[in-house]
Symmetry: C2
């Protein structure tokens, strides 16, 4: 994989991406999932994780949502909703369309100050993690964060699509390698061969699993490895201030060689993304040269107000309570259903089905019973390894979860009997 993707051997046959082939190979799965009402679902918020469907064949039905990544159940928290509204009222505007290098709502300065204190880092807010990642990778590749020496950029094979997408852009700047998922030996070999290496990975992987943070810190200490870790799915779930899966395992000072990307949605419960930077130098560069900073891609003021309100919640006992409620639900699920993720403190669980159409059928039956889950297939997971993704949250009712587990167990049993 890494050899095939290095620029030296890049040619027509060895590509970072091939959209035409992905479309050809997945079109029928997407069409079937749409036909079964599993995709492009529209609805209205209900209490907790309830959603009433407003379109399609199931219009009028109320389902329990296991799709949203609001792991602490904060995305309909009254204080966060009020924070969004108050900010828009106070500023008399939702959005100023100009570059952040020019004019900013004063409130986003407040937010970045608050988040910086909360997470022990220099925080910049973005409208999405997607644009935060897009802006960050070329700056890292430039070598300006590693004393002028361009790093070899090593991507984990399962690094999120919003990172992997930019490999060809990064390859214009420096050497790009891709290593097998969490393969520390492969990473260390590259560290031995090259004076400066940057590793790009997820903190918590969206399809299950997590980065070996302690081991990565060991490589950082030994070789000066630069780390860029997207903790979109880990933020808020761990740490006294909700620093998240990655930041809560790092030393108090982030230092010169670690950047953490994270979501202001998902666990955090507002809207947008952020970067946690370690130094004044990094912050100055990102505030000039990150593409979303240089153009009109600022979070809107509703997102800023919501994030400030969530930051307040992060400083109260409510955060720990919600973290505990989540842990309780994860343990409950694990007691009933076996998955590769069993025992991990993270809220994503993958039910393996295998065949794409069988997975779609599985998810359809769950939806008919009132449980909306994510059917996952290639290119999100490998071909023939389709399954069902369950996002557990602090605000799922245990009774609802119990019924979901019973259905999953039943369908798995049926599949075994049929095989």
């Amino acid at each position: 994989m890494s050899a095939a993707e290095s620029p030296a051997s890049a040619g027509r046959a060895a590509r970072f991406r091939n959209t035409a082939s992905v479309i050809d190979r997945t079109r029928t799965f997407f069409e079937e999932a749409h036909r079964r009402g599993l995709m492009a679902v529209y609805g209205h918020s209900g209490l907790g994780r309830a959603v009433s469907l407003t379109a399609g064949d199931r219009r009028g039905n109320t389902i329990t949502d296991y799709v949203r990544c609001s792991y602490l159940g904060l995305d309909n928290h009254p204080a966060i909703v009020a924070g969004a509204i108050t900010a828009v009222e106070e500023y008399g505007s939702l959005h100023w369309s100009c570059a952040r290098t020019r004019l900013n709502f004063g409130l986003i300065g407040d937010l970045e100050g608050t988040l910086s204190q909360l997470f022990g880092a220099r925080v910049i807010a973005y409208s999405t993690v997607m644009v935060a990642n897009m802006g960050a990778l070329p700056i890292i590749a430039s070598g300006h964060l590693t004393e002028g020496q361009k790093p070899v950029m090593v991507f984990d094979r399962l690094a999120h699509a919003s990172l992997a997408f930019h490999k060809p852009v990064v390859a214009q700047e420096t050497q790009v390698e891709t290593i097998p998922h969490s393969d520390l030996d492969a990473l260390e070999q590259i560290c031995r061969k090259h004076p400066v290496v940057a590793y790009v990975c997820d903190g918590v992987y969206s399809m299950g699993g997590f980065a070996p943070i302690k081991e990565l810190l060991r490589l950082q200490e030994k070789y000066g490895l630069f780390l860029y870790i997207d903790d979109a799915h880990g933020i808020s779930l761990f740490g006294n201030n909700g620093e998240g899966f990655v930041r809560s395992q790092l030393p108090p000072e982030l230092g010169e060689r670690t950047i953490v990307a994270a979501s202001l949605g998902k666990g955090f419960g507002a809207s947008g993304g952020m970067l946690m930077l370690g130094t004044v130098h990094q912050e100055a560069l990102f505030r000039c040269y990150s593409l979303p900073h240089a153009f009109s891609a600022s979070p809107n003021v509703a997102a800023v107000g919501a994030a400030l309100a969530s930051a307040k919640i992060h400083q109260t006992a409510e955060l720990k309570l919600r973290q505990e409620r989540l842990a309780e639900r994860i343990a409950f699920f694990d007691k009933h259903i076996e998955t590769d993720q069993r025992g991990a403190l993270l809220p994503i669980r993958m039910i393996k089905v295998g065949d794409e159409f069988a997975a779609i059928k599985f998810a359809e039956r769950l939806l008919d019973e009132g449980f909306y889950t994510s059917v996952t297939f290639f290119p999100t997971v490998a071909q023939g390894r389709s399954g069902i993704r369950i996002c557990l949250t602090a605000s799922h009712e245990l009774s609802d979860l119990e019924q979901l587990c019973a259905k999953i167990a039943c369908y798995e049993q049926e599949a075994l009997t049929a095989a």
Copy 2:
């Protein structure tokens, strides 16, 4: 330019991008502009285009803003602000963190329906134009919009950075060429040589000027040229429904070979971006395979509510009134100050200064007089061609504009005298 950038000759010396060099060549300009208080400005909304500064040496000052691209002055329109608030109240959430391929607020379906009717196209909404562009280019490159034949992708040399950024990604899929700005002969030559060609350009260029839409349509008719035009700066300013600079010049049916990207901020006055597509086939592909659609990058519900409110304004006489007020201000400016854009109906005016530090000084003097404009320098414009960008809007007071013009004329005269 085009030869140097074609994949056949791409090597270490012939790159699409070089972030390290851009940083090295511009660092001192950015630092000086920050030092003078021209960048990273923070403020609070005032009436019309007034902003009271909340940080820095000029804290407490109220300035008139010529930086924001709210060309119709809609970004603090009470109905749009109310639309944002009502939507958040009604949904009891600001944002659902999940892919648009999964679960959506019902309201975004309403918005896309409304915009589709308004603009005579199949509209998909995005959180920013930046992610709309990012999602679109690989799908066009795949050939799935051009009967399975991959197009040669031709970028205008001045196509916006949020398009040009992805050239290396697109080059993984198909041949990429870059032609001189609006060079129709160069484009036609490529059309003659290759069976399928797609041209990627801006409708209205952010640093002045616009695409020759009629001539591009002629090439489309003659050669089947596919057009992807980013009209972020042209939307709402033209057309009875505010279809914008590009869409208002296209036939009633968008057809199979034209896609228009546009902003839901800027002239439109809300927050986010959109694509205007022509066919059911295109829409189905974008709703499955566009990267921001497949991950949690949906516009938040405040943005959706604001956009719905703006769409309503687009259907009233107020739109035409604001378009006329803008035209009046453009004519007023042109009467007083000569620029390359004089006479064009578009609201961006560039004052040429030349030297980077002189341009920074020019903008600083204007800011000291209470006029906040954008100093522009490399890489946004060519090196040694720095200047001042003025964004005119329908809600600038003529008296304020008159004073701004007087100051510009005075500083230009001083520079002439000194030379």
